[in-house]
Amino acid sequence: MPKKYNIMMETAPPRFHPVGKYATVEFREDCAGSCRECVKKKCVSGIFKENYLHAISMEEPEYLYTCQSCFRCVQECTRGIFSRVIDPEYRTLGDDYWRPDILNRTWYQAHTGKVPVSGAGYRGPFVGKGFDSMWTDMSEIVRPTRDGIHGREYINTCIELSRRPDRLKFRDDMSLGTDVPPILEIPVPVMFQHPKFGVSGGNVLLTMARAAHELGTMMFIRAEDYADAFAPYAENLIPCLTKDNYQDFADIISKTRMAELAYASGIENELDKLRSLHPGLFISIGIPLNKKAASCALELVQTDADTLHFYADDHGNELDTENPRSLKDTIREIHLRLVENNMRQKINLVFSGGIAMAEHMAKAIICGADGVTVDNSLLIALECRLCYLCKADKPCPVKLEDADPDWGSQRIINLMCAWRNQLLEVMGAMGIREARRLRGEVGRSMRFEDLEAENFGPIFGERKVSGDK
């Protein structure tokens, strides 16, 4: 039996105080001053004690990240001098897709490597857009058992990035008669993508490349950003090239296992030339995820490309349209187009853009992806607050460029450890032991539209409002 894949997490505390959700307001002028029942001394989370320590070291008081929102200080203060507000800085984090709670949870996972756990039930909207309009299935009587999925009853999360032959042929003596192309396999269905914005100087990209190397996954990187320092991780890098410039990067191509060419007309004629620079090179084609993506996929599956890599926008939406569809629908369309044409098995589909949580990875695979890439989440793992100050050439509040690669790569590894464990939880509940088996397995999911039609349709009739209203 091959060695079981595990990700080793190790606590990597933040360098800066993360922005917490709550701020405690204290009307000190009303304080009795000598109260023996002071709630600050009784705080279960000890946040005020920490605050005193910060005062001693002359740092800015900070107790936001650790407040657990139990309201006891508010309710027990003898003078009622405490109140609470949402931390104004918390509101400014991210945007309506990369919500503050996503950032906060990503920081937690990068810090601890643990799966986010909470009590008291689900607290979000009933249904949302895109991936938030589907649920994954489970089975009451299922293997593997949950207590075994993190070790004894192994769930394989490997995917391939290499092309597969249509079918295997055997000679009369039953020996294999097909030339089986080399296999490029990665142990997790998630790769890294150079973020479209953000601090990429200093050691940031190197940190990401190192984490990719230690995890055994791959990282898509602009060829222009490659430097000698990346050499130890070259096998885990996929330089992104165009048909006009790939000749200029022959040296890099010779060191990597895979390269990506941006889609352009006539690209099929360049693949052999690219491969001639490094025989055995695996090739990905980077394609904008727009209305033409499905027909483009069908066209390119006829070539010798190994993987098709589709780029959605930062929110996981289709490009170049006023009414974009989400990844959930576009992945499904592309996957099914290839299935209908008996081509799906030949090629791998990877999707980028808007993969913000572990559940997005699982649901993208259910919709038909082989794998996904993460981009902004890598920056967030390094404490990025998505404040976008860097876009205006202003200094980064968490000094991303100064991040130590040891610390940073561990933060990314921790995040991926938590994501993989969440994938295992979801797959374990379904009774699926192979990430490759999960691909396109919509029977193991439930779509909002279907549940409404099957269960509410017979009761309430025809639905008049779409799901996300």
């Binding site: 929102s69 309201f71 918390y90 756990v117 909470s118 008291a120 689900y122 058992t145 949950r146 699982a362």
Partner: protein, 520 residues
Amino acid sequence: MTNDKWDPNKKFQLPEIVETPSRFRNTIGKYIIRRNARCVSCGLCAELCPCGVHPRYENYVLPLRPLAHKCMGFECKENDFFCVDRCPEKALTLKVNPILETLGDYRWPSEMLIAHWEMAETGNLPKVGLEHSLGCSGGGFDKIRFRPAESDKYPDISDEDIDTSVRLNKRGDGRPEKTISIPCYGGGMSYGSTALSVMVSRARAAARLDTLTCTGEGGYPLDLLPFKEHVITQLATGLFGVREETIQFAPVVEFKYAQGAKPGLGGHLLGDKVTANVAAMRETVKGNALFSPFPFHSVYSVEDHKKHVDWVKEINPEVLVSVKVSTPTDVDMVAVGSYHAGAHIIHIDGSYGGTGAAPDIAKKNIAMPIEYAIPKVHKFLTDEGVRDEICLIASGGIRNATDVVKAIALGADGVVIGTAELVALECVRCGNCESGRGCARGIASTDPELGEMITRDWSEQRIINMYMAWRKQWCEILRTYGMRSIRELRGRTDLLVHLDYLDESERIKYKPAPMKQMII
């Protein structure tokens, strides 16, 4: 098959409502009313306010801090007793409490929480204008409404004469004809996940309400024995604390196959919460995390399941058997399988509920919400011709009295309540049930200090008060439709509408779904 009609001779003796204020000094309310230094303590506000916002005691003339949570707020402006306007010194100010923004979430918005605290305090519907029936989730129960009724059906009967009981054994198999007097019973919360005082007070409340509560999977504390007729023994995959005698105590044994908050993931009690007492109860080692595996390692078919049901029935010839499952795609098939295995109750637990700690990814994403599962299972059991021989109990995201009757109208016989009972004990849904020493408010903690924060008398009465307030709402709805028993409401989907399935002209006749954007 047994007759499921209402028995007019069986009347529920309603437990007494006793005002049970918050255990905290500063109760959180919707409004803040402040008294400034201009106050001369004339006492006019105390005389005027019918809600008791301004406490004043004999022989004590200094002004006291207003009990703002009792204030009716700006609705009171029309009244001639509006203290803010009547104060001769203009010493009072009123505003909406800004803390509301930091409280609650889409499913349990701040007003729903505060309303339930008030119901648990007074046993009545809140006087303050609080939205206690609808959350901001934008779907499911929050978009389902009852149709207006024909007014001539409205019967002139008191709450006491309305039957809210549910029959648990419909199989006619010679086992006890067990009935609970309200259409709810308490969900399983184990010793270890909640404080012992909480467990015992829930059992005491269940006894006085003539309903049930459930041990959860943490063993059977002996403190529950005086109420054993009202305590379900849960038999889950870890089999913690399950013994022959705990099955013999119980009127109902619940097989827990899965739970809605973490379907397919079993249970996990973190080592921090495994104190010496918890370990002793579960017959394990202090400080060691405890897993309830998933699934039952000895059940891989309906036949295996039947074998387990038969064991329990053999050990206790008087017991009823409940089977708790989650809500996968094939939940309807699972329900029928459980019926054929001999279950009396099929308990389906939807994905959005749960009380204890669970991975966030599971709570949000795995299995379907209960709103879909109820009609699915009800219809399938009906089509299979066994609906009237099994009791269908729903749980998981049923938050308030209106959700209960909506669930029943969708097809359930009754529901299981977990979170709302904890909210009655002043849970703020901060979600930190599992971390460190556990719940800082002493509800979900076995910490030596925190676990003793709640007294049994106080929490028993708070739970009773909340259910009595709920019962008033159920009776009002039943009267609206001319019904004398809640059993008449089961499966009456013709009384329901869903806002998204109505034309605009029809939709505006109903209360719109609250759609507040929240920061979670």
